[in-house]
């Protein structure tokens, strides 16, 4: 893409999309949102960045191969299930705890970890495919 406007604005839009995707991920348990749609939006952001700044720049921004994110995602989701072993409850039983963050009570839970896993899996799988397609074969 050679449009100057697009290239200038893209990083701003991408940043906003990524923040929004995290917002959706975190509020998903009580409001519309969740890991799946969050991951999709983050993936769309990366697709946009790829079109604006090129595949190489996007890959650098990701630091790791996109598929690694997906692998870590599945691992996190599985880990969220395995944790229940330490509490002698069946696999994938939801576990909840409350922590104080700057005086605000925050619930952390294995479903949250699980949702993060879904987010990363969707994100990683789609980004890896989209970037490979955008690269047009080179270094796919």
């Amino acid at each position: 893409m050679n449009s100057l406007l697009f290239r200038t604005m893209a990083p701003v839009i991408v940043a906003a999309m990524l923040v929004f995707s995290l917002y959706l991920l975190l509020r998903g348990h009580n409001e519309p949102g969740g890991g799946f749609v969050g991951g999709l939006i983050a993936a769309a952001a990366m697709a946009l960045l790829g079109m604006a700044n090129g595949v190489m720049a996007t890959r650098r921004a990701l630091h790791f191969d996109a598929l690694n994110y997906a692998g870590v995602g599945v691992l996190l989701a599985a880990l969220a299930g395995v944790l229940s072993v330490f509490y002698d409850v069946p696999f994938l039983t939801g576990l909840w705890a409350e922590v104080q963050l700057f005086g605000t009570p925050i619930s952390v839970s294995t479903p949250m970890l699980f949702d993060l896993g879904v987010y990363l899996t969707v994100f990683g799988s789609i980004v890896s495919v989209v970037l490979a397609l955008e690269a047009g074969g080179e270094g796919a």
Partner: protein, 819 residues
């Protein structure tokens, strides 16, 4: 659970498998002492088993039970009776010796650690097999022995012949494994128990309805494992393995697993005409086949391999007869054979090591250079020949005592005498030809083998003679309990060292030795004759196996080419054609067509959304370029997302929106990537075909959804989730709570699929990289051969769950891509 000393029994299969995990690493540190130190474990197990001998001989059966799959009544049951004890002691004893031998045989070999680890693992699997008191456990260990033997036979993985032999052994014994599984399921279904002990207590199944199929399946398993004709061909090929492996696999283990299975199930399946007929016939044929094949060989190791087939045939024959004397003979022969065969294999390995050849004709006069090896070979060969004061003698005597009654037994007797005679001749040839006579030039200058190579054969040969000297005690402590377990009734031991000159058996033994001497004297003439016969026949089972395998591969290739033709548009046609069938066939066959829907009362902006969807559809159909069509499809999808939003499914709306955006992006990328024409140049008949399919699928889906809506909704799931979402899962967004909590296992599976699909798409993209074929610049790949559009299914998470929470909305979108 309180500690019970018998639980140590459970360690027998487990400990070698655990040690196998670290054996390779230990070998790096221990180097030349690795074999000896690792052998401590099987030796200790042998000693532990020895402490149990008296209890078992006293009639006790030691049982161990650990819970495993409680809901199916399948436990980790172990059973130590006379039969398992004899097998377990033989396996652990020879296992220890073989480990020491292997450490010396492959000293300095970079893969010695792997070999030792595999041998240990194999020992564990074999011990588990003979101790298992549960058909499921038995099957698991049975398969484990197949896998370990595959790895052991293919140890020298750089050579094609070794790999082929390994695959062949795995396939043949694998077929048997499947048969065993089926047989075990059948037995369990007939008797209602998986426990072997319960089966044995239930007595013979002969005459019941499922008996014959169960028998045939078990026999198939045993015959493939124990290399009975016509499944014998894998065994000589397995000689591609290093000699320590052959010494172990073909004396006391692997091939004896089939014998063990027959012996174990003999009280349940034995005693019928079918059993006796099948075992005696197959065993007899195998005995003669192996004996004749052994005569053809000049390679010492191959001679031994063929005699193993013959011995296995003899064992099967004895088990088939099933009389007290016959099963006693089988147990005696099993121990005697294991001892002398392992010793002879090891001696042959030592000869190979020392001289660089195993050819009978190239060896002579080694006794002066390798006196101890000669001693071991002679001791073992005497047992194989069955001279007095060896275990082989008693095994043979016992067998001859058992025979001679009926016509079948007379025939078996003749076969046994002939077979034993030829085996004796081979034994003489192996013990005498290489060692006596003038010294000849060998590829390497012969020298006596080292201690680790000598220890095994000497100990085993001595054990064969020692057990014979103490035959009265040995018979009472080992053979009688084992035979009782096989016969399913108490079998007394009457073995004694003093020969009975009045008995016919002694004269038959003399006849056997006569045949042996004649065979030995005429060995070369016999070989020439047999090779000429073989040259005339031409058919070999080995080649038939190859033909069958290649036929299978050709068939698989043909099927693959038919189904997996690589034309993307035909794949799509197939998928949607099947979808249309799946929609219409049930509806039409149940005559359940939906009622004509009433026109809904919609607000004006709702009409607007539908108008947008319709406009997208029309634009799609009229689009002149592919890009236009893709965008038009996006418009239509957008309208669907709006429908979700308006009718109260914001989650689905969100997801649908993003999916549509990404779909447009990805389809566009795919289009540019595949360098498709801007336009869609379809023939008119293709257009008709695709159009018909599209209309059919659309009408079918609409009808199915109307049908669903015409029935009252079952509210139970929706009510459950509404009631439990907040109190139990702390979440107000029911859709998300279902995804990450209530049905988390589904989601875990789904994201695994997403990941796998991503990997698959990436692999396809990399494979079809244009830059990968720079050599042929003129070759233009046909775009239809690249199917990267599989991405779209990867996006849609099949989502029945969401239906429970938003039933109406979810059903509006049949592919369920909302989540």
């Amino acid at each position: 659970m309180p500690f019970r000393p018998d639980l140590l029994l459970a360690l027998l299969p487990v400990a070698p498998l655990l040690l196998a995990l670290v054996a390779a690493g230990m070998t790096l540190v221990l180097r030349r002492f690795a074999g000896v130190l690792l052998a401590v474990l099987p030796a200790a197990m042998f000693a532990y088993l020895a402490t149990l001998v008296e209890r078992v001989a006293g009639g006790e059966i030691i049982l161990v039970h650990l819970d495993w799959i409680v809901s199916y009544g399948i436990g980790l049951d172990l059973r130590l009776d006379g039969l398992s004890l004899v097998f377990a002691m033989t396996i652990s004893g020879i296992g220890a010796v073989v480990l020491i031998y292997a450490g010396g045989y492959l000293r300095g070999h970079p893969d010695l650690g792997r070999l030792l680890a595999l041998l240990l693992g194999f020992t564990g699997a074999m011990l588990g097999l003979v101790l298992a008191d549960n058909l499921v456990l038995l099957f698991v260990f049975w398969e484990a022995t197949s896998v370990f033997s595959f790895l052991l036979i293919g140890f020298d993985r750089g050579r094609q012949a070794a790999r082929r032999a390994a695959v062949q052994a795995l396939l043949v014994t694998g077929i048997g494994g499947l048969a065993l599984l089926l047989g075990a399921v059948l037995l369990a279904a007939m008797t209602g128990t998986w426990r072997v002990s319960d089966l044995l207590a239930g007595g013979s199944l002969g005459g019941t309805a499922g008996y014959l199929p169960a028998l045939l399946l078990v026999l198939l398993a045993a015959f493939t494992k124990s290399a009975q004709v016509p499944f014998h061909f894998w065994l000589p090929n397995a000689m591609e393995a290093p000699t320590p492996v052959s010494a172990f696999l073909h004396s006391a283990t692997m091939v004896q697993a089939g014998i063990y299975l027959l012996a174990r199930l003999s009280p349940v399946l034995g005693g019928t005409e079918a059993w006796t007929g099948a075992l005696v016939a197959v065993g007899g044929v195998t005995l003669l086949w192996g004996a004749v094949a052994a005569l053809r060989q000049t390679d010492l190791k191959l001679m031994l391999a063929q005699t193993t087939i013959a011995s296995l045939g003899l064992l099967v024959l004895m088990l088939g007869l099933g009389s007290d004397a016959a099963v006693s003979a089988a147990m005696l022969y099993f121990v005697g054979h294991a001892l002398y065969k392992a010793a002879l294999f090891m001696v042959v390995g030592a000869i190979d090591h020392a001289t660089g050849t195993r050819e009978l004709g190239a060896l002579s006069g080694l006794a002066r250079r390798m006196p101890l090896s000669f001693l071991a070979a002679a001791g073992a060969a005497l047992s194989m020949l069955g001279l007095p004061l060896t275990l082989g003698y008693f095994g043979k005597e016992e067998l001859y005592l058992a025979l001679g009654g009926s016509g079948l037994e007379l025939a078996a007797l003749i076969v046994a005498v002939l077979g034993n005679g030829v085996l004796g001749g081979i034994a003489l040839a192996i013990a005498i030809r290489p060692f006596l006579g003038p010294i000849v030039q060998t590829p390497k200058r012969a020298h006596e083998a080292g201690l680790s190579l000598l220890l095994g054969p000497l100990v085993l040969a001595a054990a064969g003679i020692g057990a014979a000297v103490l035959i009265g005690w040995f018979g009472m402590m080992a053979i009688a309990p084992a035979a009782s377990a096989v016969a399913g009734r108490a079998v007394a031991s009457h073995l004694s060292l003093v020969p009975d000159f009045g008995s016919l058996a002694l004269w038959l033994s003399l006849l056997t030795w006569g045949v042996a001497a004649a065979t030995f004297a005429r060995l070369d003439q016999l070989r020439t004759l047999l090779r000429r016969v073989q040259g005339a026949v031409r058919f070999t089972f080995d080649a038939a196996f190859d033909r069958a395998m290649f036929g299978l591969i050709r068939l698989a290739g043909a099927v693959t080419r038919f189904i997996h033709h690589g034309r993307l548009e035909l794949y799509v046609v197939t998928v949607f054609g099947l979808l249309a069938l799946a929609l219409f066939v049930p509806m039409l066959s149940y005559r359940a067509l939906p009622p004509w829907p009433l026109l809904p009362q919609l607000r004006f902006y709702e009409w607007g959304i539908f108008a947008l969807a319709a406009a997208g559809l029309v634009a799609l159909l009229l689009a002149r370029t592919r890009l236009g069509a893709i965008v038009a499809l996006g418009v239509q999808g957008l309208a669907v997302a709006l429908v979700y939003l308006v009718f109260g499914a914001p989650d689905l709306a969100f997801t649908q929106l993003v999916v549509e955006v990404l779909a447009v992006v990805i389809l566009t990328l795919v289009m540019t990537r595949l360098a498709l024409d801007r336009r869609d140049p379809r023939e008119i008949e293709d257009l008709l075909r695709d159009g018909t399919l599209a209309v059919l699928c659309g009408v079918g889906l609409t009808a199915a959804l109307l049908l669903v809506l015409s029935h009252p909704l079952d509210p139970r799931l929706a009510e459950f989730f509404t009631a439990h979402s907040v109190p139990e899962a702390h979440g107000r967004n029911i859709v998300n709570v279902i995804i990450v909590d209530f049905r988390g296992l589904d989601t875990l599976g789904e994201i695994s699929v997403v990941l796998a699909a991503g990997i698959a798409v990436l692999a396809l993209l990399r494979r079809s990289k244009p830059a990968a074929m720079p050599v042929l610049p003129t070759t233009v790949r046909k775009p239809r051969r690249r199917p990267p559009i599989v991405l779209v299914p990867a996006l849609s998470v099949p989502d029945l769950k969401a239906q429970a929470a938003h039933p109406v909305e979810a059903k509006l979108r049949p592919d369920g891509s909302g989540a």
